[in-house]
């Protein structure tokens, strides 16, 4: 069964002046048509780097050192820069976190939308492109498209700018839209609007979405499936309901527990003690071993294998091994 996107054992290294950081240490996930996958994790877990590798947008000191990225069967990790240029913006699009800085301040927004059309839709005439741009501006919920077309980014509010960014990304009807923390920089009310917009557009354009976030509320709102990353590895993945109600991995449990509840008045907030591991010298066992409350000796010595714990629910945790039954009691 050929999936839309298949990432297998992806490994990415980043060369810094102090040494090599193993940012992504062998992760695998997939994406089907018209579904939304959320990738969750803390800063430094490797989530941003993973999706940037899919787009071929790694920084100069970053490199894919292992694994494959299959888009409809073709391995993107082996593509040349030229080949990637044809994919970016047309088959796969990406939107970023900060709408205030994602748009070129000296170009009108109309021009910025038309630019991506010019690049990939050379079959369209200038008028057709402008019409399409106006259409997109309305589609993302901005009124007065004619006026907005000639305006500059600083004349729009943050929420509107993010809508424009989405319009640019969806202009060529991409198969996959990657959204890297698209709502983190926005006010809470606007966040909800943008997520609704994305869901709406997904139905209309029939695109698949990968959304990166550290906010579980966003995950609950928009995701079909979830993948949790920690220390450069994928520690748990499942359908969204499974993840919230049948959580298996201690890290995911910790994340869920740390969400403050309105009903819990007074007392301390539950947090996971400690800080993420140093990926220049990654721990040889499970990356979460140092902070887990249920660590076993085996966790510190051997990296846990990928275990199936439910219908398409995977987790990397030794606790799921049969031999841990005694310990679990």
């Amino acid at each position: 069964m050929s999936r839309l996107l298949e990432v297998n054992q992806l490994q990415v290294h980043i060369r810094t002046q102090h040494g090599i950081v193993q940012a992504v240490r062998g992760i695998s996930f997939y994406l089907d048509e018209q579904e939304t996958l959320a990738i969750v994790g803390e800063s430094g877990s490797g989530k941003s780097i993973s999706v940037k590798s899919i787009m071929g947008l790694l920084p100069k000191n970053g490199k894919i050192v292992g694994g494959s990225i299959l888009l409809e069967g073709k391995d993107l990790s082996k593509y040349s820069e030229r080949q990637m240029q044809t994919i970016r913006g047309s088959d796969i699009s990406m939107i970023f976190q900060d709408p205030m800085t994602s748009l070129n301040p000296t170009m009108t927004i109309g021009k910025q939308i038309v630019e991506v059309l010019k690049e990939h839709r050379k079959d369209m005439t200038k008028t057709q492109m402008k019409d399409r741009a106006l259409e997109l501006i309305s589609l993302v919920g901005i009124s007065n498209p004619e006026t907005r077309f000639d305006q500059y980014p600083h004349q729009l509010s943050g929420g509107m700018r993010q809508r424009v960014v989405i319009a640019v990304a969806l202009a060529c009807d991409p198969k996959i839209l990657i959204a890297d923390e698209p709502t983190t920089a926005l006010d809470v009310t606007i966040q909800a609007q943008i997520l609704d917009l994305m869901k709406d557009l997904q139905k209309k354009i029939k695109t698949s979405i990968i959304i990166i976030t550290h906010n579980l509320g966003v995950v609950a709102n928009i995701a079909d499936r979830v993948a949790v990353m920690y220390g450069g590895q994928l520690v748990e993945s499942a359908d969204v309901r499974e993840l919230f109600y049948q959580t298996e991995h201690p890290y995911t449990k910790g994340l869920l527990a740390s969400i403050p509840k309105a009903s819990h008045k007074g007392g301390e907030l539950t947090a996971i003690h400690g800080t993420p591991p140093d990926l220049m010298d990654p721990p040889k066992g499970c990356p979460f071993a140092a902070r887990c409350t249920k660590t076993m000796e085996v966790c510190r010595q051997y990296p846990p294998e990928d275990m199936l714990c439910g219908e398409s629910h995977h987790a990397r945790c030794w606790l799921l091994d049969e031999r841990a039954k005694a310990f679990r009691e």
Binding site: V298, A324, F327
Partner: protein
Amino acid sequence: MDELFVKAYVDESEKEHIARPNLTALQDGWLRLKKNKAAVVCLFTLIAIGLLAILAPEFSRYSYKETNYDIIYQIPSMEHFFGTDQFGRDLWVRTWMGTRISLLIAFVAALLDLTLGVTYGAVSALAGGKVDAVMQRIIEVLVGIPHLIIVILLMMVMPAGIWTIVVALSITGWVNMARLVRGSILKLKNQEFVLAARVLGTSTAGIIWKHLIPNTVGVIVINAMFTIPSAIFTEAFLSFIGIGMQEPKASLGVLINNGYQVLRNFPHVLIFPAIVIVLIMVCFSILGDGLRDALDPRMRK
């Protein structure tokens, strides 16, 4: 492996992992500067030049003004490392004497600049309100005046000499420093960490000493670093067109002027002082750039 499925002992310290050792801004800046090889080379070159300027004339038996018409225009030799000029004067001594004077003028002028500028700028920024508004207006008017013109005019009016040049250079130079210092303090005053310090109960004096000054030092040092070559250049320029230092006193500008006059036949008279002045300017420039990069917190990756 089965036996490993038992509770593990985890050290508390393993949980927290600090990515980098903690350093103050200045320590961090110094470390980063040291890594910039070009800047370090320049620093040592400047020190070497400084030492030569102080010591070389003292250890030579020739004086900078002693003329000897028997040995005019000699090319460099063991006797005269840089050769002699049209009056038979030893160029090695004259060059380092000239460097001494040029450097002296530049440093003193930069120091005066600094004192005047920092005081004015700091007072203006700290006082705030009407006082600041007035002082700021004055600066805005002064900043529009092209320095060199005023310097030249002053030079024409006052008697020639080292102190004249120093005064002339300082009179117009402080304005820029004042502007930068004022800007920096104003920016810092309004930043959140000052607010945080206040909330934590730090006194006003404490805020000035512990927060405002250390962060402004960077701006001051960098600006001073660029004022010195500017002063050297201006002095050399003035001497070159004839209104700076006068013969037989030497400064780099005087020497270059001298050399230019006999360039056609005896290039060595121009080359040596030219090389020295270019070296000094280049080194200050690179060092200044290096300092600026080293002290810029944004460059910490």
